[in-house]
Symmetry: D2
Subunit: 365 residues, 4 copies
């Protein structure tokens, strides 16, 4: 065991839960360009306020697909070689010497925004806007691996009744919770535009929160099927019908009380404003790829709309809400977890994500 | 038909839907003192902005019981002879000449607070605090009768999918909705103190709104049974166990996020503060009979509590929420409607209310 | 007096305060096309729930300028011949037979949106979104006249310590109050984009509400002078400097907490998002003439912005706030009232409004 | 310099700004019982995430008076010998090895609640309710001394335009800001009950936030004079007049919109509810010494009151607001700083505090 992390860590005052090897398998963004490689790499070192987690399940995010396909954003931000991936759940196997609130054996997931804690945003309840944010799997090594290191303050202790798959998906679920709970839902009608994983998760959240009806819109029938499985009262394929007309019909001509914009598609964004009633809430998580045209006078001003930009998760209010929904049984997200692969099969997972015909895809190290 | 209301009303420009007799049966508070009498009385006249409703179901409120037993409040306020009762649903059979928004044949219930509309409270969203309020069945003739008159602006049009029994109970349900929705519930733990009809209705509302757990407290096992039927996760009989200790245990020692105080009992009110976490919400609808002792330093100040006095229903925000919960199927209140009698059997209904072993009691004219 | 309104009104049960002539001077939009005419017209009749007001001061709104110059909106909406104008203050001289809350001799201004009171928007605190709204001076005869009729429920009783000029300007001041008080201001930095009358009024409101610094932007130095007079801490002429850079400099690089968008100018709207901090509030009253391009990803989503469309005034919450600010002396709007003309000189007033080198222009009948 | 703190600290990686002696003067709670002693004690050691501040001004809090006179609370909580005092401003002279956001020479005050940062309250914006709180000058050595140690995360960097006296008073000013800004004030009427230092500071905050009128109540004319100096529109000595009647008269019979309860006096607390309008806000910072009688039905339930318990300051939202009010010049608290003594004269300061005839009393080390 002389070459084990355990030994190394012990030397600097760490506590290790059980045998930790010195190397591990990891999916590495290996070069400037498309693709990724499964490699054997050193298990990362743990500093005094960090923890090492043995990954039990990790899931693929849309951001990971961007890194995989190497879009402009990735090319500007990612520094290969780099382990990517950031959604996961696992067991704490090493604890830094100054960590007090996380214990060996804890079953954790992670808030993936590592923030400074001292800027004005961090000090006033806006940690998700910290200007000094580093993101796990983007700026620092990630979770598509057997082990991942993170600051103890970013750990979220999971209820053991929740499976690693579900616990891994809490991070994007947190985006859905943050979006949905940014205003009142009880007794309200909701349109969800874009039925990717976060969109369909938000349907489950809105349902748990008492929305009186939830309408889902996408152009992919597979995803509309997931929307129905998560509790949508009606789904519309924008290629076949005019969703604005349909939703006006269903709401007595007034439009819905609330819109969750999850698509980033300019045409869909414009339709979203049309299908919303005067005085409604329009919460935007989807990201348009470029500047777009909007009739602000009618979409926002005359309509008295409240438009909210949503980013990340509130730290840690959103996590408490998310965990409460899962452990109380008010929210069941298992219909959204549609596929599982071993870490070695990661390319199959990415191919599936690129097809659009999936919900959340789990990789098991 | 020369002596019918129809004829009379027609003479002053009313529109009558169908034959309306000149007399009707009604439960009348007939004297200063306990009791009431079933009498035959004239069908009330309809003024230009009023409507006449044929009552299909009416339900007994705790206030009606006070009038029946003739407590100090009743003796000071009620002017016999007086038709009392105010919770009802029925069909519009006469419409005043200046009424535009209610039609013959509409199926309605009523907001029972008749407000002035011109005071500062009415003009700023606080109609439920109007200083010029007259209450149906208290200050003006009520609904324990075959017909009832009300201002058209107080009518609430019901969805025809809702039964008259349920539609009648919307008014006290509105109290429960107003209390419950006075703050966030999704993912929160709630203690409901006092399981009379409004208490158990509030359990259903909290459940529909996504509360993660609801704990109910009373000293009557019949009512705790209704609490369970409406979705309480656990119920406690305060005669047998210490509800504060039980609820602390269930909430990891912290206490619940939210308390609905529906009992008016001083000891229970004090316990409510003890079982609530720091920074919690304490919404009070129950009415203590007299001034009581409270440790304000610990119950409110150090605890950072938000205490809300709740009265009436928001006009008409609460009604929209209430109706949306019922017609969407998010809330089923039928377990709370436990007994039905004909109007003639009203004394049986009051006896039952006095026993405490009932939910809502319906009278059918 | 046989041909007086007094006589006519008396015949139908009205109460008249003092002699009311049968004809009056009024500025009439006389034809489809630019311009207006001073005409002698009948004093309008008063129905049972209306009042007649002798106008003491009336002020010109930007909307009036659109009607005067006859833009596309006016051509589609206005039906000449029509008395326009809607901002005013005056004395009640005739009261309809069913009016109870307004008295002869009351000194009033008017909420100019005449709403139905029975739709769902009206019944839930959103009267300013009533779909059945008629606007004084747009859809029904207005206030550029010696007398104006309005529904009693639209009257606002002024404190007699407030001059008719100031009382007339309360209606657009209400727009400014509605915009400014749509979120927290105390201790916040504010950018006001567009220094027309409502823009400069909003500066006074923000100052009264405790904004820590207010920055004003326009391309007209006269208007920037008004902004300074109303309390702006710094003003920027967008033709000479880059307001985004200037405001970033003044806010430590972060941007302001709050933006009031009063210009409707696409370039200025885009700059407004750039000069706002993450998580800020962007309240939009200005109306872009046509659809415009916006980088929604950066302006709204990543920024976590809250964007609010503002229209009209909250009925009557905004009026209470407005009146309290004026009568308490917390807000002095007299610097914004820059010019006065007799009603006969209305063309001078409109010319001045078209030049942009004015604040509020008063017409005195 | 072998016996200097500088040398000691350097050995463990600290950075010291300038010569720091090994001993200092401090006011020490020296025994179980009344009084305190000026002693020469060691300058405290600085750990890796702490800072040492040279105190330039410190002010006496009501809590310090309780410790000085040794009431039941003090006897249960304080462990003599102990340096007490917690309000201060000064210069950072030593910085722990892991401190990154505070620099040598920074001019700081302190949030006095040292919280854990990891409990659910800390993680959801309620640090002021952390169950693991230690208070400076109560649980850990305080600021009535030449030097004080504190965790770097508790430091608040002052604007150098603010004097040490004023900067020292920011901590109780924060209580006033937290109370006042717990709801809307612009255009509202406010009653402040109890004109001790925090009460009179809250008057200044309410004025800066646009309250339309502020009424102050106390039984000490000296303090009512401070209330007037801070901007109260009217003051009432409860020994001479009935404040409820006076305030009803001033508010058209309705009562004030908002009450700040700063007295803890049961009779005054009850009067506060009587002088508040229906639907008003009642924010309680004053601490009744024991359970008291309250007519909850009329004071809270029927009134639709919102009662808020206020404790501490929001970390650090309240500090940002407080600092913005001071540095923008919206709030001038110098009238409240009425007396200054050297640290050696501390007994004079306490005597004055016990007399009640003072505002804030400053001690200069």
């Amino acid at each position: 065991m002389s070459d084990s992390v355990l030994a190394t860590n012990k030397a600097v005052g760490m506590q290790a839960f059980r045998y930790v090897p010195t190397t591990m398998k990891a999916v590495v963004k290996h070069r400037f360009g498309p693709g990724a490689e499964l490699r054997t790499v050193p298990v990362p070192q743990v500093r005094s306020r960090e923890i090492l987690v043995k990954v039990q399940a990790t899931s693929i995010c849309g951001t990971d697909v961007h890194i995989y396909t190497w879009d402009a954003w990735s090319a500007a931000r990612i520094k290969p070689p780099m382990i990517f991936g950031h959604e996961f759940a696992g067991e704490v196997v090493v604890v830094g010497s100054e960590v007090t609130d996380v214990k060996l054996g804890d079953y954790v997931s992670a808030e993936t925004h590592v923030v400074c804690g001292t800027c004005s945003q961090c000090r006033t309840g806006f940690k998700h806007f910290c200007k000094n944010t580093a993101i796990l799997g983007v700026d620092i090594p990630g979770a598509f691996a057997e082990y991942v290191v993170l600051p103890a303050k970013n750990a979220w202790k999971n209820d053991r009744s929740i499976s690693p798959e579900v616990a891994s998906v809490q991070e994007p679920l947190g985006n859905a919770v943050h979006t949905a709970l940014a205003g009142e839902l009880i007794g309200n009608t909701v349109a969800v535009i874009g039925c990717g994983p976060i969109g369909v998760l938000s349907i489950g959240v809105a349902k748990a929160a008492g929305a009186s009806a939830i309408y889902a819109i996408d152009i992919n029938d597979y995803r509309l099927g997931l929307a129905t499985a998560m509790g949508a009262n009606a789904v519309f394929n924008g290629k076949n019908v005019d969703p604005v007309a349909e939703i006006k019909k269903l709401t007595g001509g007034d439009g819905v009380d609330v819109v969750f914009e999850m698509s980033g598609n300019p045409q869909a964004i414009r339709q979203g404003f049309e299908m919303m009633r005067n005085g409604g809430r329009y919460s935007m998580l989807g990201i348009p790829a470029e500047p777009m045209t909007l009739d602000i006078a009618n979409a926002i001003v005359f309509k008295g709309a409240t438009v909210q930009g949503i980013t990340g998760r509130k730290m840690f209010d959103t996590w408490y809400k998310t965990a409460a929904l899962l452990s109380s049984g008010k929210l069941d997200i298992t219909p959204v977890i549609t596929h599982r692969f071993s870490l070695e099969e990661f390319e199959k997972g990415f191919d599936l994500m690129l097809s659009g015909n999936c919900g959340k895809v789990i990789l098991v190290p």
